[in-house]
Amino acid sequence: MKRISDHPILGEPEKGQLVSFFMDGKPMEGFAGEPIAVALKAAGVMVHRYTHKAHEPRGIFCAIGRCTDCVMIVDGVPNIRTCITPLVSGMRVQTQDGVTALEVSE
């Protein structure tokens, strides 16, 4: 389990409503308002994008919106920093390949 259910100092994390969203077409669940990257992490998604030149995987690196490594396509818009963009119910999140969506075989 990736989520911390109880913490010795902080107790139980405060979370929003459990909502569903889509990751490369697949339904997933996360808490509304938490960063998209956190919901993905909880679901075990490590790769957020593949780089343009070398097609190398990238994921969360700085987690504070600075390094821009975790960018993905969110509701059709590329280069969205998922570590600081709150999750909204029904969001369509896609792995980014260069600056476009990664083609995912169903």
């Binding site: 990736k2 960063p35 969360i60 700085c62 490594d69 600081i84």
Partner: protein, 535 residues
């Protein structure tokens, strides 16, 4: 144009402190922060702070953040969140993205307190998902309640690396090793000791040579380096990990100041590009100040004082505070700041090797290289450790051996057992004449978790040791587990004879274990049996 007396950029410890002081002087103050939550790094700091009472010592960072916010609110400071400053222009104009729009603001004074950014190191595979900054780990676990990974290797033994390693364990992650290219541990020995006694090995003069994995990290190789930074053959070690955490220092995030046209200097002692500032943080542009890490990397306690100083200076600059009041109040703050700037971790001591404490005691080399005190170090440091003839029941053992600015233990003991004195970087002394009641307040007050209550003759052949235990699940009275040494080595069976979790301890439960009398000065941690089996 919306105009304020003062615009503060960054709602971290420095920015909020500055805003509070300025607003209390009667200024109209706006604070902009790009994050959804204010407080900067404070809300990721779940450990108890060092310093003295005036520095809010023994209070956890996030609590200090809550206090600052309440104070800012009370003082009438307007805090704008999700408000990203795009740039600072001529005439102290600030362009801010708030929501889906840009808004222009002007101010007669500006304080930049944008904090710091993490440094990075490169190695083969450092771009793989699973390699993260230590700040990222803190953000994930302490703000968003998610583990960065299950098995983590930490690179960097400065205070950030040490503190985050401990936090990772608190969050339920396993820290497999702590690695640093330097030959000595950079952070406080007490932070290192907390980790070492959990069994985490330290590898100094080592660095990462490769992160393995195709789509994410699956392992890491480290190696010892010679003086030319070349790996020494045969010293490679491999760990199966899913996360590599980098804590290799911070750099001031000073771009806004540079854009504003402030004279900048590159000062390695302050972490990189910093503005040229006066004592109160005023830059080369009159009325524009810098406070906190952006003007030189330190810790939050200093940032809060620096923030307050620049807030007062800004108030005086605009006539909201008389020069004489300014001088007086700044002088007090100067004293508070200076008290933090003493001892072996003072900014002036950066990069120096300190061989002896201020008291003239040789520093433990084991602590610097392995993260824990050797038994042979104890005689020099631990009061009463060799006075078994005098033991008369429970008494504190303070394993605090470096001159760090901290004194809550002194205030915590109502019996006057513990003395630090006026200089808060002095090593605490135990007054034998005073009688310890075993209340445990000193343990809970010690930000370094370096105080233990020992009773050598708890029962015939057995000693009791009371230790801080900030982990879950909390052991239950009567259960049996393993006593661990300072280096995390199993010593034998330990029985839990008491668990106390008073509100006054502030989430530092005190666990008392019963161990054979011979382990009174060696057993320093407790491992539940279930955990030992899992490993």
């Amino acid at each position: 144009m919306k105009r304020y007396d003062l615009i503060v950029v960054g709602a971290g410890p420095a920015g909020l402190s500055a805003a509070i002081e300025a607003a209390r002087c009667g200024m109209k103050v706006a604070v902009f922060d790009e994050n959804a939550k204010p407080g900067g790094q404070l809300f990721k700091q779940i450990h108890k702070f060092f310093g003295s009472k005036e520095h809010q010592a023994k209070i956890r960072g996030y609590k200090i953040g809550e206090t600052l916010l309440a104070e800012a609110d009370e003082a009438g400071v307007e805090v704008f969140l999700n408000a990203t400053v795009a740039g600072i222009y001529l005439d102290k104009e600030v362009l801010v993205q708030i929501g889906e729009a840009m808004t222009h603001f002007k101010a007669d004074t500006i304080i930049i307190s944008t904090g710091a950014a993490e440094n990075m190191v490169t190695f083969d595979g450092w771009t793989l998902p699973g390699v993260i900054g230590a700040g990222a780990a803190q953000t994930m676990m302490n703000l968003h309640g998610i583990k960065p990974g299950q098995r983590v290797l930490m690179l960097g033994s400065g205070n950030v690396g040490l503190v985050v390693s401990f936090q990772l364990m608190q969050a339920g992650c396993e820290v497999v090793a702590l690695v640093d290219a330097a030959p000595r541990i950079g952070g406080y020995g007490v932070h290192a000791a907390k980790i070492a006694r959990c069994g985490v090995p330290f590898y100094l003069s080592h660095t990462i040579t490769k992160a393995d994995g195709t789509d994410c990290v699956t392992g890491v190789t480290i190696a010892e380096f010679d003086e030319h930074f070349a790996p020494i053959p045969g010293t490679q070690k491999h760990f199966d990990v899913d996360t590599i955490c980098l804590a290799v220092g911070l750099s001031p995030m000073s771009q806004l100041l540079k854009m504003a046209g402030c004279t900048m200097v590159d000062d390695p002692k302050r972490g990189g590009q910093v503005p040229l500032v006066s004592e109160n943080g005023e830059t080369s542009i009159p009325g524009l100040f810098a406070a906190g890490d952006v003007s030189g990397i330190e810790e939050a306690s200093s940032a809060m004082i620096g923030g307050r100083m620049s807030g007062l200076a800004a108030a005086a600059y605009l006539g909201f505070l008389s020069e004489s009041d300014k001088e007086k109040r700044l002088a007090d703050l100067e004293v508070a700041l200076n008290s933090l700037h003493q001892g072996m971790f003072a900014p002036g001591s950066k990069g120096k090797t300190v061989a002896k404490t201020d008291e003239g005691i040789a520093v433990s080399q084991s602590l610097l290289k392995k993260g824990y005190l050797e038994d042979t170090d104890l005689e020099r440091f631990v009061h009463r450790s060799n006075q078994t003839d005098k033991n008369s029941g429970i008494h504190p053992v303070i394993e605090c051996t470096q001159n760090i600015p901290c004194n809550p233990c002194q205030d915590a003991c109502t019996k006057g057992c513990i003395k630090v004195g006026k200089t808060i970087t002095a090593l605490p002394q135990i007054d034998d004449a005073s009688s310890c009641t075993g209340c445990g307040m000193c343990i809970a007050a010690c930000s370094g978790q370096a105080i233990f209550l020992v009773d050598e003759d708890y029962a015939p052949g057995f000693a009791s040791i009371t230790l801080p235990y900030e982990f879950l699940p909390l052991p239950q009275k009567g259960e049996q587990g393993t006593a661990l040494s300072r280096s995390g080595q199993p010593l034998g069976i330990a029985e839990i004879i008491d668990v106390r979790n008073a509100k006054a301890f502030d989430h530092t439960p005190l666990v008392t274990i019963k161990v054979p009398a011979g382990q009174a000065m060696t057993a320093r941690f407790y491992q539940p049996t279930t955990q030992a089996m899992e490993q």
